[in-house]
Amino acid sequence: MNRKLKGTKALQSSVRKFCILFSVLTGLVLVSAGLSFVRLGGFEVLGIMLVAFVSVGIIVFYFMELGSLTQVSWLWAGAGLLWFGILFVLAMTDYLTRSWVW
């Protein structure tokens, strides 16, 4: 009985945590939508993507529980990101330097 009560308490606190995070994420969506209405000479694009990455970070760390996971899962979560970066950076290197003249 006692164990069950403890379980309920733990559950209540996680539900509360998730609800708070949900409101934060919803707020971030509105912030990025708001950013799309301003003109900051390209920096709004940066801001929008930054907000998106923060949201992704929150989902990964708290909802997907990466914070409490084994090292191996970290490794593979990181691998996905790293390789995504490789694809992006090396391919864009080509596009961004194609018109350079030496």
Binding site: V72, W76, A79, G80, W83, I86, L87, L90, A91, T93, D94, Y95, L96, T97, R98, W100, W102
Partner: protein, 540 residues
């Protein structure tokens, strides 16, 4: 005395039964036993290899004469596409990982099966379905784009069945991904007690590295093929300049997959060779950690070099220089491996059995292939030899001279474990030597052809190139004999070969401690690794 032991052993096997005991068709088609799935893969890839080899033979015969008298240009183009697609996706990529890997990974780490046995069966089915779809594309008329599917030719101009072929590759891609995923999870989570990362067999290191590539590169190919199909079917797309698209985007995405894919096609071979060199010299592989880390380094660096396929494609000069220097970096770990294998032989106790012959052949041919890779990574030279027979010769040295040789070596090494029977040693050695000679005669002249300037994918060619083409075709016929021989004597050995016993090579490793063929759940008791996996007793 020894005979008596053998009899007891045999009786034990008969009593306990092996994974091969149950012979019903259903028991094979619905098996989740990794060893049976490995064999299913073996049969399947031999089937695809045969078709692709026939295509290669037809091409080589056609190139005997400068005008290409055997087949028409259209047919020739379909032949090399078929050869490329089947060899790459339906033979080389699944060869060592899916056949030997499936069979050996749980045995080597002392597990009863892979982490996800049902997924493993599913990936075989996906592979077969993908292969059948690709063959369907062949039956309804074939595809003539080359295995590289460059746009806008493939997306707009070709009149052949590109979408069906792409679908076949797409489906089999998921088979690759699931296999890779399975191996990674297994190696991480299912190691027997005592197997630390530095007591892991080098074959497993190389398979882990391979799986990294399978998992992280293949999805890009999948999405690329989807976009290609959309462009082709709906006439709107992102690759054809006439539609506002960018053909170089296709090449970037394609080679992001396909360059690492060539490491899928050679890393497992390196793993097999590490095992063979160690077992037949009765020594630990020299520089174990360096060989292991070299595998991982290749898996990572292999992703950073794809642009060296595009030096003359119109990409930025700076990008080309970056990719060139990174390409040289990826050559370093390969060189490390070659030097370490060579040093392993020093002061060993070497037996030149069939698998070892293949291993030695691998080191030589792979080194030659790797060295010519250095020419291709040099920007100034690549401009001249790009898209010529030099490239063809280079990657066949790696793919055929390397991977196929290693596959044959591995197959011969573990054949007694797989079937419980020994093959005739004399024919084994003979076939290995014939293959080595045939291979070099086929592909060495192609280096010269390439430097002379003969472009690849030519159905006919100017007269001056004929002499090397004749040599190459002659070599191919010898190579063909080399491939047919094992097919015959290995099948023969299943019924008539000598009983092998658990450890015919007197080699180290968990797989040699269980019966040949192994029982369904591999081990009666999960073994414990108490020492280095290659701890051969010192030789007096």
């Amino acid at each position: 005395m020894i005979n008596g032991l053998e009899v007891i052993e045999v009786e034990n096997i008969t009593r306990r039964g092996s994974y091969l005991t149950d012979t019903g068709l259903g028991s094979w088609l619905f098996t989740t036993d990794h060893k049976r799935i490995g064999l299913l893969y073996l049969f399947t890839i031999i089937f695809f290899f045969s078709i692709a080899a026939v295509a290669a033979a037809a091409m080589r015969l056609n190139l005997l004469t400068p005008r290409g008298d055997l087949v028409q240009a259209e047919t020739y183009n379909k032949l090399f596409t078929l050869h490329g697609v089947l060899m790459v996706w339906f033979f080389l990529i699944p060869s060592i990982p899916s056949v030997l890997g499936n069979f050996l990974v749980p045995l080597m780490i002392g597990a009863r099966d892979l982490a996800f046995p049902k997924l493993n069966l599913l990936s075989w089915y996906l592979f077969v379905i993908g292969g059948l779809v690709a063959l369907y594309a062949l039956l309804v008329g074939g595809v003539d784009t080359g295995w590289t599917f460059y746009t806008p030719y493939s997306s707009t101009y070709s009149n052949t069945h590109v979408v069906i072929m792409a679908l076949g590759i797409f489906i089999s891609g998921f088979s690759s991904i699931l296999t890779g995923l399975n191996f990674i999870a297994t190696i991480h989570k299912m190691r027997a007690p005592g197997i630390t990362w530095f007591r892991l067999r080098l074959f497993l290191w190389s398979l882990y590295a391979t799986s990294v590539i399978l998992v992280l590169a293949t999805p890009v190919l999948a999405i690329l093929l989807c976009l290609l199909a959309v462009e082709r079917v709906f006439g709107v797309g992102v690759f054809n300049p006439a539609l506002g698209g960018d053909p170089l985007l296709f090449q970037h995405l394609f080679w992001f997959y396909s360059h690492p894919a060539v490491y899928i096609m050679v890393l497992p071979g390196m793993g097999v060779v590490s095992e063979l060199v160690s077992a037949f010299s009765r020594k630990r592989v020299f520089g174990y950690k360096f060989v292991a880390f070299a595998s991982m380094a290749i898996a990572l660096l292999g992703f950073l070099v794809w642009g060296h396929h595009m030096f003359v494609a119109g990409q930025s000069v700076y990008s080309a220089a970056t990719f060139s220097i990174l390409s040289y970096l990826v050559a370093v770990p390969s060189a490390i491996k070659v030097f370490n294998w060579t040093t392993t032989l020093y002061r060993g106790s070497i037996r030149l059995d069939t698998p070892m012959l293949y291993a030695v052949g691998f080191i030589g041919l792979f080194a030659a292939g790797g060295m010519t890779g250095l020419f291709l990574a040099a920007l100034g030279i690549d401009v001249h030899v790009h898209d010529t027979y030099f490239v063809i010769a280079h990657f066949h040295y790696i793919m055929v001279g390397g991977m196929v040789t290693a596959f044959m070596g591995g197959l011969h090494f573990w054949w007694p474990k797989i079937t419980g029977r020994l093959y005739p040693e004399f024919f084994g050695k003979l076939a290995a030597i014939i293959m080595f000679i045939g291979f070099n005669l086929t592909f060495f002249p192609q280096f010269l052809l390439g430097y002379l300037g003969m472009p690849r994918r030519y159905h006919a060619y100017p007269d001056q190139f004929q002499v090397y083409n004749v040599l190459s075709t002659a070599g191919a016929s010898i190579l063909g004999v080399g491939y047919l021989m094992p097919l015959i004597y290995l099948i023969w050995s299943v019924k008539y070969g000598k009983k092998a016993g658990p450890n015919p090579w007197d080699a180290k490793g968990f797989e040699w401690e269980t019966d040949s063929p192994p029982p369904t759940h591999n081990f009666e008791v999960i073994p414990v690794q108490i020492e280095d996996p290659y701890n051969y007793p010192p030789i007096s």
